[in-house]
Symmetry: C2
């Protein structure tokens, strides 16, 4: 059995650094407590793991800079969640009340702004202008992706190209940045680091496709949230688009009318059936799988002196996940 | 007659740089247009002027770095306006609809986030880690100040010390940073630059006190907005606190009850009268004046080889302003 032993070791190494960013000792408490809260409620801590794993391709022992980078990417991810949850009017995050619900919107906006500044404090401490430049570029793309995502709500049909571009911007670039910068801090050449950026993008796209799939076809007990949320929000995921783009006009009209009159359970059952009928579920899994295969080949092509096991375990964990 | 000739020259110099940041050519347009809009609708452009004026204490000719800094501080100021206007539920900014009204709240949050990233792009381009560190420190204080300001709404009484600390954080530190960094880029020593930081703080405090005063005692035609907004919002400015802290319990109860039953005009007239009776108006002007005198002495103590006229004109303009 594959035990993800290296990954456990890596998370253990990040533990103290995580506790440090959760601390948030500043004043007034009203702006620091919600930041501590969002950082504390968890998640998979995938981004810091990826940054450290990329570093470990080139170095055996972590140093201050890579730990600061790992902290920065985890904090930045939480900053985006904080503000996205306001925009999406989400009530829950990882089973807990979102910040704008537990406190209020003004607090959530301000705490996000401060958390973003804390990210830059970490990045500035690393003292590497190339990494700062890459970060700015990535953060800009991520904002563009969030706007594209919001724009999709007002469009009837989204092409797969547009969807894949959006999730690249909104999800994958941060994974790409985490690995590229981790590699640079480890001493990788620019070209090698760029390969790790591309690997991060590949992992991010397949991650998001699986996320979409599990939101509809996952098991509630494993995923840890209500199944079918995307369907109820008519979220235009790859899975949805693959179904929608293969329905005829009468099927589409019928679905649109159903949303006004049918129960949540009935809608979820009907759309799931349509997704299966059109093969959208299989196409989603297949595309995720294709990315996983490409990612594995890309990792094999990377010529690093250090330990590849960390990254291999992360990729294995992500591609086999059921939650 | 004092014509502010140097200041005009300085603004002229900043014109092209301002046009450049207003351009915002990126895509999707939905996230760039509101940024362009807020940067375009104006304001006094005091912060870039202060940055350049501090630089000119040490250098005759501007260079790329100081112009980027001037752009960054103007952009950061507009970022704070964008998010503060959501938190304050403001409908108008400089006589125009605020971004969250003209577009929507999600757009305003996201555009603010992107504008903040653009600020860091400018700062990163300057390539000076000391300036980045000072900026992060200032931005953190500004967020703390915004939270203190929001906290004041839930408190009955605010001490002058607390109020002055809040406006220092919320307004003055950005002016301090603008001048300190401008001086550093000009070649000032750390100690000289720190003096300019302190001068910026002094200018900021006196600026905010005058702002509070003009909101109640200014002339509508000159100030360019409805007079008495702070009174109607029961905003706990220095002016308000100086009145409130000198009223007895029955006067306070009377005012609290009046807000539920009296018209806006009646409330404004009553509170103005109380401010005059308690001498709060004169105390506000006097404190602003004291800061102006201290600021002038501080500028005189600065030992710079370059031209002081720019900064003198800015200070004169701010202390004599009626709008």
């Amino acid at each position: 059995m594959f035990t993800l032993q290296k990954l456990t070791e890596l998370y253990h190494e990040f533990d103290a650094a995580l506790a440090q960013i959760i601390e948030q000792p500043g004043s007034p408490r009203e702006v620091y407590e919600p930041i501590s809260y969002i950082l504390k409620i968890g998640g998979k801590r995938i981004r810091p793991a990826m940054a450290i794993a990329a570093f470990k391709l080139y170095q055996n022992e972590t140093n201050t800079a890579i730990i600061q980078l790992a902290q920065a990417v985890e904090m930045f991810h939480n900053f985006t969640l904080l503000h996205d949850d306001i925009m999406d009017k989400s009530l829950l995050r990882r089973g807990k009340e979102t910040v704008h619900i537990k406190w209020d919107e003004s607090t959530a906006i301000l705490c996000g702004d401060l958390l973003q500044i804390e990210v830059y404090e970490k990045l500035t401490s690393i003292g590497n202008l190339e990494i700062l430049t890459l970060f700015n570029q990535m953060a800009r793309e991520l904002c563009e992706g969030q706007m594209n995502d919001m724009n999709f709500e007002n469009r009837d049909q989204i092409s797969n190209t547009d969807y894949l571009q959006m999730i690249t911007q909104k999800t994958a670039v941060l994974l790409g940045f985490s690995m590229q910068s981790g590699a640079l801090l480890g001493g990788a050449s620019s070209e090698e680091a760029k390969k790790l950026y591309n690997l991060g993008i590949g992992i991010g796209v397949s991650f998001q496709l699986m996320d979409d799939y599990l939101d509809t076809f996952g098991e509630k007990a494993k995923v840890g949230k209500q199944i079918g949320g995307d369907i109820l929000n008519q979220k235009k995921t790859f899975l949805w688009n693959e179904m929608w783009n293969h329905l005829d006009a009468s099927d589409r009209d019928k679905i649109t009318n159903m949303y006004a009159h049918f129960s949540d359970e009935e809608m979820i059952a009907h759309i799931k059936q349509k997704m299966i009928q059109t093969g959208a579920d299989q196409k989603t899994l297949q595309l995720a799988q294709e990315h996983t295969i490409k990612n594995t080949a890309l990792l094999a092509s990377i010529n690093a002196s250090g330990d590849k096991t960390y990254l291999e375990e992360i990729m294995k964990m992500l591609s086999e996940r059921e939650s």
